[in-house]
């Protein structure tokens, strides 16, 4: 039997959960800032290596008054060590996919409280951005189940969506034999006939494979109104890159799902919360806002200069830095290597910044990785 989380942790989690449960329209910067500082306080206290990292930068809980003064850690750090607030309480460890470099997977440990925080964010964010119309759908998930891949955070999250929002027939469609295309096709036909809308969700590339398959077999679906897609992950590390416009036009052409019902999600192993597109929410509210990822009120995103790491104004492209209250269990401030920019509605993400093509004649890390894979 694992011992209880410390009282101060439990009580902070309660406060954070209360804040998250107030929903997506509840903007209270002061309360957010207050909670962010409390999260930092505990992470500074409990994680010695992070404490030293902050002290080296002259930052202690007493010295700062705003969330944006909290020193962020790079996502790569999780590849060389496990950083959790309470490592002995870790109940679940998620790993990054390591698509770019399979030998280097980042690991993030979650305690009970951390999982609970994540669950609440999944519920709140999806209620607003994925199911703002409260339509009940069958979730068809192009991903393996959490039992198959306990370390994959996407499988965990999709499973929660299934539990919270899915009709009983909802299911995972990647089994031991791989992607069960036939099952998906059958389910889609059933939905067409029965008029019960579906939510197809999974990794972006799974969709692309499915679209390729449908084109080859000349398959087309006219899914009932209310059906939608949720794709996550983008195309990093894939040989083929697909533009968003191409993706949504395929959704319409193959599935009969309108572009407003195609929602992209930015999820990361290092971030407990999820960043959804505003597409459906904005459409249903009749706002027609430009597509962007929205920060739920319990998160913040900054764009920083890739060289100096100084914050950049809206519109300028830089690397994304996220701050997430739900990351209480590890590190709240995370420096990614995703390129993006702030937009009026939230932020845009352009994918992982590549090290760049070789400019000189020296062998690059990417070439080296390629060689290792081939040999």
């Amino acid at each position: 039997m694992m011992k209880e989380l410390p009282e101060e942790v439990l009580s902070l989690d309660e406060k954070i959960i209360g804040f998250i449960r107030k929903g997506l329209d509840h903007q209270d910067s002061e309360a957010f800032n207050e909670l962010a500082l409390q999260v930092f306080d505990l992470q500074f206290k409990y994680i010695p290596v992070y404490r030293r990292y902050c002290e080296k930068r002259g930052v202690t809980p007493e010295k700062i008054s705003s969330w944006d003064q909290i020193p962020p850690l790079s996502t790569d750090v999780f590849k060389v060590m496990e950083i959790s607030m309470l490592p002995s309480h870790t109940v679940r460890t998620f790993m990054t996919s390591g698509t770019a470099r399979p030998e280097e997977k980042g690991k993030v440990g979650y305690d009970e409280g951390g999982l609970r925080l994540m669950d609440v964010t999944i519920h709140e964010a999806a209620s607003t951005f994925l199911f703002p119309d409260k339509v009940k759908t069958t979730l068809l998930i192009i991903a393996p189940s959490p039992e198959m891949v306990p370390q994959m955070i996407m499988a965990y999250g999709m499973n929660r969506l299934r539990e919270y929002f899915g009709l009983p027939e909802s299911r995972f469609l990647v089994g031991k034999e791989g992607f069960e295309v036939k099952v998906l096709i059958d389910e889609l036909r059933r939905s067409e006939k029965g008029g019960i809308p579906v939510t197809i969700c999974g990794g972006s590339f799974g969709f692309v494979n499915f679209f390729d398959h449908c084109r080859e077999k000349k398959l087309r679906f006219e899914l009932p109104p209310g059906s939608r897609t949720l794709d996550a992950g983008g195309f990093k590390g894939r040989s083929r890159e697909v533009k968003r416009e191409e993706f949504v036009s395929d959704c319409e052409a193959v599935l009969g799902i309108k572009k407003e019902y195609c929602i992209n999600l930015l999820g990361m192993t290092e971030i407990s919360s999820q960043f959804y597109d505003n597409t459906l929410e904005s459409f249903l509210k009749g706002l027609n806002l430009p597509r962007a990822k929205v920060n739920p009120p319990w998160t913040r995103t900054q764009v920083v200069d890739p060289d100096t790491l100084e914050p950049l104004p809206p519109g300028k492209i830089g690397v994304l830095r996220h701050f997430d209250l739900a990351n209480r269990g590890h590190i709240a401030a995370i420096q990614t290597d995703d390129l993006g920019r702030l937009a009026s509605e939230g932020f845009e993400v352009f994918g992982r910044s590549k090290e760049g093509e070789a400019r000189g004649c020296s062998l690059t890390i990417d070439e080296m990785t390629h060689i290792k894979k081939e040999s």
Binding site: L73, T75, D76, I83, S353, R359, G360, L363
Partner: protein, 482 residues
């Protein structure tokens, strides 16, 4: 906005009207716009150009004495070394904007390339590869053969440039001229301005020789053009990444000789005998020089420096000295601008090392005060070779015994190229022998990694002799020789 117009091509004057249309590409940075004039290349232009180059070569360059050729090339190098030379001035305006390299880095690159390309270097390079440069002019007596022999260069060489190292493309034109071959260079997207300027210099000195040389640009992978180009060439010199070279090699007809200079890795090794207090600063400065030249982007640059433990100075102490030297060089010769991805990669990697250091691991991270200008990392040899993200990011690995690194190097044998070695005791020669066996193509001293001589067997091959054809006269004198 200051606008500089510059040609991203060079065609012999007589062919000026062959180009139907030009497009302009604009590169901007900090108030300077470089307008690159780029001719549209098609199959007909390629065919006409080769006809012209080959004819010019036949009536002029093939008959030009090698000493005269060397004098012309020597004069070109000396012009480029002259700080007031207008084309050098122009290159120093264009290349930093196009490549992001600082002006100082570009200057240092031009100096390094041209200082090693003087008349005496060329003469010695020929002597080293073919013994007697006069073999290129006429039949000469060969004492080994006890008869006469003569060397013939290719009619036309194509050189594909893909990298942005300033002043490097001149090597292919120089080598082609030494072989009395016409040469077409394909400009690199990363830096298309130097080669045309270099050919203008040749034109200034000897307009007839310049008629045997050209630079064009087309998008890599344009089948029709590449097929036409390779069909006309006798030899191809390729510079580029592994994939680029592999895909180009597939298109080159078998009868065409190809010299491939793929992307390579450099490293350095310092033995405990050389890690003394005395000379520490000089040694650190030398290593910093190796890591900073060309912003570490040349294949000559080190990714890793291996330092042996139990010297008078520990590898960690050496890193402190190295960090000071890196900063000093950065002040004199600032690191250039790098892409978002490159900068982000450096921060991410720094993050890993910083956390490991803070966790109490035997790691030391030393960085420039601002941004990503330079990074020095110390750790104990992890047993694998990790390529650097470049742009002045050097790992120093501590090793108990320098011979322990050999199995690691073995695993990347085909990519090894340039090594700085300073062991400082009787093991040095044995160590060098082992590096040679592993595939290392050049061994030099710390501080000299970026300045190979013309005599170097570039990437382990004889860049001149490999492209020659010979005719030997083995007639016996008594039967009636020459």
């Amino acid at each position: 906005m200051k606008i500089i117009e510059v040609d991203a091509y060079y065609l012999p004057k007589d062919l000026g009207d062959q180009v139907k249309d030009f497009r302009t590409e604009v590169v901007e940075d900090e108030g300077v716009a470089i307008r690159l004039k780029i001719p549209t290349v098609d199959k007909i232009l390629i065919e006409n150009l080769f006809g012209y180059l080959k004819k010019s070569r036949q009536i002029y360059l093939s008959r030009l004495p090698i000493k005269r050729i060397i004098n012309i090339l020597d004069e070109a190098s000396r012009k480029w070394l002259d700080r007031s030379y207008p084309y050098r001035e122009l290159a120093l305006k264009t290349i930093p904007v196009i490549t992001g390299f600082s002006r100082e880095v570009v200057e240092a690159s031009i100096d390094a390339e041209m200082e090693s390309s003087l008349g005496e270097d060329m003469w010695r390079a020929l002597c080293s590869e073919i013994k007697n440069p006069l073999y290129l002019d006429d039949f000469q007596y060969s004492p080994e053969l006890k008869g006469y022999t003569r060397a013939y260069g290719p009619e036309a060489i194509v050189s594909i440039f893909t990298q942005n190292i300033p002043a490097l493309p001149h090597l292919s034109f120089m080598r082609s001229a030494l072989l009395k071959a016409a040469c077409l260079g394909k400009g690199a997207t990363g830096e298309p301005t130097f080669a045309p300027l270099y050919l203008k210099t040749i034109e200034e000195i000897d307009p007839e020789m310049a008629k045997c040389m050209a630079v064009l640009y087309w998008r890599g992978g344009e089948e029709e053009i590449e097929t036409a180009v390779f069909r006309q060439a006798d030899a191809v010199i390729l510079f580029g990444g592994i994939e680029t070279c592999a895909s180009l090699l597939e298109k080159i007809p078998r009868k065409v000789k190809a010299l491939v200079h793929g992307h390579k890795l450099g490293f350095g090794v310092i033995g405990r005998g050389r890690l003394n207090r005395q000379g520490l600063e000089d040694l650190a400065q030398a290593v910093a020089q190796d890591c900073s030249m060309f912003d570490q982007q040349a294949c000559l640059a080190p990714h890793v420096y291996y330092l042996e433990e139990k010297g008078k100075v520990s590898p960690k102490e050496f890193c402190e000295a190295l960090a000071k030297a890196m900063e000093a060089i950065h002040v004199k010769m600032p690191r250039g601008k790098i892409s978002s991805g490159e900068a982000s990669a450096i921060h991410q990697l720094r993050g890993r090392y910083e956390l490991r250091e803070l966790k109490g691991e035997d790691v030391l991270l030393l960085t420039s005060r601002h941004g990503t200008d330079w990074t020095v990392v110390y750790e104990k040899n992890p047993g694998t070779f990790s390529p650097s993200p470049l742009n002045r990011f050097i790992r120093v690995y501590g090793v108990e015994d320098i011979f322990q690194i050999l199995p690691i190097l073995e695993s990347i044998g085909p990519f090894l190229q340039n090594a700085a070695v300073a062991i400082g005791d009787e093991r040095e020669m044995e160590f060098i022998k082992r590096l040679g066996e592993l595939g290392v193509a050049r061994i030099t001293s710390p501080g000299k990694m970026s300045v190979p001589t013309m005599m170097w067997h570039h990437d382990g091959i004889s860049p001149l002799a490999s492209l020659l054809r010979w005719c030997d006269i083995e007639k016996k004198d008594e039967i009636g020789g020459i």
